[in-house]
Chain length 302, copies 2
Amino acid sequence: MNLLVVGSIGFDTVETPHGKSEKALGGTAVYCSVAASYFTKVGMVAAVGTDFPEQHTEFLRQKGIDLTGLMTLPGETFHWGGRYHPDMNGRDTLFTHLNVFQDFKPTLPKSYCSAPLVFLGNIHPQLQLHVLEQVQAPKLVALDTMNYWIEGTPDLLKEVLKKVDILFVNDEEARQLAGEMNLLRAARKIWSMGPRIIVIKKGEHGALLFYEGDIFFAPAYPLENVVDPTGAGDTFAGGFMGYLATSQNFDHNHLRCAMIYGSTLASFAVEDFSIEKLRTLQERDIFERFAAFQRLTQFSRE
Amino acid sequence: MNLLVVGSIGFDTVETPHGKSEKALGGTAVYCSVAASYFTKVGMVAAVGTDFPEQHTEFLRQKGIDLTGLMTLPGETFHWGGRYHPDMNGRDTLFTHLNVFQDFKPTLPKSYCSAPLVFLGNIHPQLQLHVLEQVQAPKLVALDTMNYWIEGTPDLLKEVLKKVDILFVNDEEARQLAGEMNLLRAARKIWSMGPRIIVIKKGEHGALLFYEGDIFFAPAYPLENVVDPTGAGDTFAGGFMGYLATSQNFDHNHLRCAMIYGSTLASFAVEDFSIEKLRTLQERDIFERFAAFQRLTQFSRE
């Protein structure tokens, strides 16, 4: 197992201008693991309730994901409901039923503790620290977080930040974490907090990579039909981490390719509700879109 | 003379979170011509009032810009005042004194009529048509327009669109012109209106080029200090058209380089008020930032 993924798993009920999806499979650990499964062997740590349908477990298993760390707890599965604005650039949360996610304490199966790459999805920083205490000498640890923890548990979050190599945040979170409007200056402040590699996601406006004084920009792929943006960020992280897990090389160009693989997987994810589009994706589709990304930005000086 | 530029010239009084600039040199024709002057010989068609300071004319002349087409009309020079929002993504117009610009009717000096490249800045479509009637067999004609003409004079605008090769618009204008929210579908509709080459500017989020079914994306350069975004779009057009005028090659890769030169010039323009930063820019600065743009987006598949 090359990549350990820790995060939420549950049901999403989502309304967008394109329709509605009821209690579909979702959650950070699902989007991230499924995306990464195209590149590498993933082990998932997450918790579901007793109502979690066997068909979902079976699907994840078919994707080659190690589910030894998937706990079934008494109670119902996490369920989130949201409605996107007409332009899809914002959304309102309609409900959040934490259910068994409330009692989730990530305990790693022994076979997971030697994972070389670790992705800590957006959960309580205390739980992220708890995971890091269990893994032995990982080569690369990535963290996702959000405004809720930046505001609510800043000290714990800073403690985790010192222990990770990569931080995934969106532009607003980066500004809030650094207390700095300008993203370049924000990235420099975040470097001093611990992470060597900072990925700032800007949704439909692409993503920025900051590493060793270097900046790389990956555009979002121009799509004709964005159906449901839910999980795009976690899918991005899955493509990014999955590619690095298989390449085992973390130099500048590999990190740049990871940005493009992340963008590639995310571009597919948003073309349908839930993880529908990722169910049937072929390796060929990924290679073709990666090549389309190259055509989108490459030029030679004349 | 390789590039004919038609548009406004005047004074801008601008407030941004970084300060205030009073009655500074501005206008489409100025930003565009000065940017293009780094690449090629530009001829400007515009009108000023009798109050226009000789120092501005002298500066434009020093940039090698042909001012045979600069008319001095009785009255005061165009003067625009605006205030940017704290995040600089929006602005309010405080006043627009059209003054002599009201009576501007672009009449081309004979020496301009054989210009191979033409940039029609954002003026009344009737005047844009009037310019096109005077030029003989140009190789490449570019047009800029805005919501005011899209709403106010749609038929005249459609007539001009049939006669141009390149359209420069921002994302909102593209959506409005095409009556289509999605930019890919909007570009396809605009192709059918005439322009073969469509450049959709997205401000701090970069710019898209649509040409022969192909899409190219140029990011905006990540800057630590954006002082004044006024004129960024016209500066972009100037870098774009100036580079094409000198390369005399309009194939895919040259158009892509033109996008990057446009972005390069615009990235300098916004780093200071008015055209201050463009006054002292060296060719070396342009080449260095062009190379920085390459580093920003280039990667090799591993």
